[in-house]
């Protein structure tokens, strides 16, 4: 009886232990004695080597710190981060994106990094103003700017040669682009322009070119029903719907535009600079190049030039247990040295003023990547707002209905105007 009871208790004990061990693992930081180990969470597996270069450079001078870079796929990154934030187990260092920054900053989740460098003007002196703005809230800086990216026109040189069309240059307008796309489609049967529903790599650029906006300057109202905004969005939608040289949205749902482009199934595509290094690495046989975005020839205001730029920042939790060490690493990440390392690794265009040339140099002989830098001159920051994460999906879904033909553009835009204004008012 005793032996049996003993065995039973042991079994129960081991089962309870298994249950509990499954519950643990929430906290990632540990520090035993002097050694500190930190977690660095990112979402782009292609940039992992670049981030690890940065870690290596830092750890060389700080041997008591070890930092592990973890990549979580973009699709799950934000769900996971939100869960981590709610349970107070945020990673030690993580990438923050325009789309979600406001949500975290206004809820006090991020650590204040304004005084990281002692000099209050360090950020504005060394990084583009738009990036610092997007990493700030209420006059305080909550993220160290990491990089910036712009959107350019990528094109398949093989298809252009086959159709006998000359390559895009800075004289191109959207009319030229449409003509070229049609010619390529007629002569080669391959899609001349890939125009999926996308904001940053799609209609937003044309909205800017037309002189429109999605959010007004003080973020109190949206601009969906603005004439220029409508021109931008309708021009982009028309590329897909009114011409046969672009696949329809149903095709893009099954195979995304990027996959079609690298498979040689599309001659032109709007491409963000963050895709350049991965494409070069994964598709070395693809013959392609990049050019500045075509100009809009009939904007409501402005000269018809525009591109969307965006930038990530590094951030940490306001309640991090190793704030001193983490802040020191963040401080390193915002130095010129760190940005040069990032640029040379080809991961992304480093944010520090003057360091972008290292990224360009890295890739210059393969592609005309200088255009990304050139366009920064007339780039507009990708918009953000506190409630953006709540209505971003609604914008996409409503515009999707226009592509499906179940809603006309005017109705969609006025619906969006009302919905987004409602969210903005609640902020």
């Amino acid at each position: 009886m005793n032996k049996r009871k003993c065995m039973v208790l042991m079994m129960v004990f081991s089962m309870v232990m298994m249950l509990l061990s499954g519950c643990g693992g929430a906290s990632n930081t540990s520090s035993n004695g002097d050694k500190v180990s930190l977690t660095f969470q990112i979402w782009d597996v292609f940039q992992q080597p670049g981030m690890e270069d940065l870690v290596e450079a830092y750890v060389k001078d700080h041997p008591n710190v070890s930092i592990e870079v973890q990549t979580i796929n973009w699709d799950e990154y934000w769900t996971k981060l939100e869960a981590s934030a709610s349970s107070n187990s945020l990673p030690d260092i993580f990438w923050m994106h325009t789309n979600e920054f406001m949500k975290y900053a206004t809820s006090g989740m991020l650590a204040d990094l304004s005084d990281l460098y002692g000099d209050k003007n360090y950020y504005t002196n060394n990084f583009p103003a738009g990036l610092v703005d997007n990493a700030s809230y209420n006059g305080k800086v909550y993220g160290v700017p990491k990089d910036w990216d712009t959107i350019a026109l990528a094109y398949n040189t093989d298809l252009f040669d086959q159709a006998g069309v000359s390559y895009p240059d800075d004289t191109w307008t959207w009319d030229t682009a449409i003509e070229a796309a049609q010619t390529i489609y007629d002569k080669t049967g391959v899609s001349g322009f890939l125009a999926p529903l996308d904001d940053q790599s799609g209609y937003l650029n044309l909205v800017k070119q037309a002189g429109g906006y999605i959010l007004n300057d003080d973020k109190t109202a949206s601009g969906f029903t603005n004439e220029a905004t409508k021109l931008g969005i309708s021009s982009w939608i028309s590329l897909q719907m009114d011409h046969d040289f672009s696949p329809k949205q149903a095709t893009f749902a099954e195979t995304d535009a990027g996959s079609l482009f690298v498979a040689g199934q599309g001659a032109m595509l709007l491409l963000g600079s963050w895709n350049v290094a991965p494409y070069l690495q994964d598709y070395p046989d693809l013959k392609w190049d990049v050019a500045v975005l075509p100009r809009m020839s009939n904007p409501v205001s402005g000269d018809g030039r525009g591109t969307i730029y965006n930038g990530l920042c590094y951030a940490t939790s306001a309640k991090n247990k190793n704030l001193d060490v983490v802040k020191d690493f963040l401080k390193f990440l915002g130095t010129e040295e760190a940005n040069i390392i990032q640029g040379k690794s080809g991961a992304a265009i480093p944010a520090y003023n003057g360091t972008s040339k290292y990224w360009v140099e890295n890739l210059q002989d393969k592609l005309n990547v200088q255009v990304f830098e050139d366009m920064m001159e007339y780039g507009t920051q990708f918009y953000n707002a506190k409630s953006k994460s709540q209505w971003n999906a609604i914008v996409r879904d409503t515009l999707l209905e226009v592509y499906n033909g179940t809603k006309d553009l005017d109705t969609a835009l006025s619906e969006l105007q009302k919905t987004v204004d409602g969210y903005l008012a609640e902020e």
Partner: protein, 304 residues
């Protein structure tokens, strides 16, 4: 163990046995309470609240329910879920019945076949969804390629609102038919052969034997499989989520109730509203199960 016991040592023994029994179920019960029961009540409370960022809540009364019942997206999702149920359950059970019968036959290599048909259940749902999605791809998928080669018309299976749920239902049936067949197989093997012998003597052919012996005596197992299939189909999420993404033109014709829950909870961030949706699913499943338990008196035969 001595047979002659005094009253006190007998009750001590009984108490000891009870104690051991409780200890053995304790891990499961604790797990059930912490991971199922408490969250269930929390969900009920959440459905009457409005969620703010990062876990803050404020009471909102019936607003979530009112919004929910007035939302056309919600009713469409309910219809999609019920349509999925109708597509997967009858055909699925019929196919697994036939398969179970075949796997019970006197053929060589029976065990191998049983293992093969069980395999789909072992593969991760995400992997199943990805591969089938590629097979259904309108331009490059193998299904359309084969159809084209034979000269039959093709379809944009996953982006056509009229075929999208059917396409996903095929995958759901494919992945579950083996498992259900194994379950039904165990029920089949419990039927004494003497019944079949008697029927054969009386002159009943294979088909009559099936209708009058197999089906009634298999009904408890069939009942179990029916309930499990119904619940699984009403709770469908991962297959549809992985095969039909948000940018798919047919998404409105495919998104099930739990898909809407996921979207509201994680993409839009409206967790209170999402909780109301979950409770609606719970209600539907309860009604279905209740109806089935009432109906079992009519057709389920427990005396073997």
């Amino acid at each position: 163990m001595s047979n002659e016991t005094t009253t006190s040592s007998k009750s001590t023994r009984i108490r000891k046995e009870y104690f051991i029994a409780y200890m053995m179920v304790a891990p499961t019960i604790i797990g059930l309470i912490i991971l199922n029961i408490v969250p269930f009540f929390k969900t009920i409370w959440m459905s009457f609240s409005k969620s703010a960022l990062f876990g803050a809540w404020e009471f909102a009364g019936l607003k979530n329910y009112i919004d929910m019942f007035q939302s056309s997206e919600f009713w469409k999702a309910t219809l999609n879920t019920l349509e999925f149920l109708i597509l997967t359950v009858p055909i699925g059970i019929a196919l697994s019945l036939i398969l179970a019968g075949l796997l019970n036959a006197k053929i060589r290599g029976k065990t191998v076949f049983r293992a093969i048909y069980f395999l789909p259940m072992v593969v991760a749902p995400a992997a199943v969804a990805m591969v089938w999605k590629w097979m259904y791809n309108t331009e490059f998928g193998i299904i359309n390629t084969v159809l084209r080669a034979v000269g039959l018309p093709t379809n944009n299976w996953l982006t056509n609102p009229s075929t999208v749920l059917l396409s996903v239902a095929v995958v759901a049936i494919w992945s579950a038919v083996g498992y259900d067949a194994i379950l039904l197989l165990s029920g089949l093997q419990a039927i004494p052969l003497s019944y079949y012998d008697a029927a054969r003597v009386d002159g009943a052919g294979g088909f009559k034997q099936f209708i009058y012996i197999t089906l009634p005596l298999l009904s408890p197992t069939t009942f179990f499989v029916l309930i499990m299939r119904c619940m699984a189909s009403l709770k469908v999420f991962d297959l549809i989520y992985m095969m039909v993404e948000d940018s798919n033109p047919a998404i409105q014709s495919a998104r099930p109730l739990l898909g809407m829950f996921y979207r509201q909870s994680f993409e839009v961030g409206n967790k209170g509203y999402a909780s109301a949706i979950v409770l609606w699913v719970f209600f539907i499943i309860s009604i279905f199960t209740l109806l089935q338990f009432i109906g079992q008196k009519k057709w389920v035969n427990y005396d073997i």
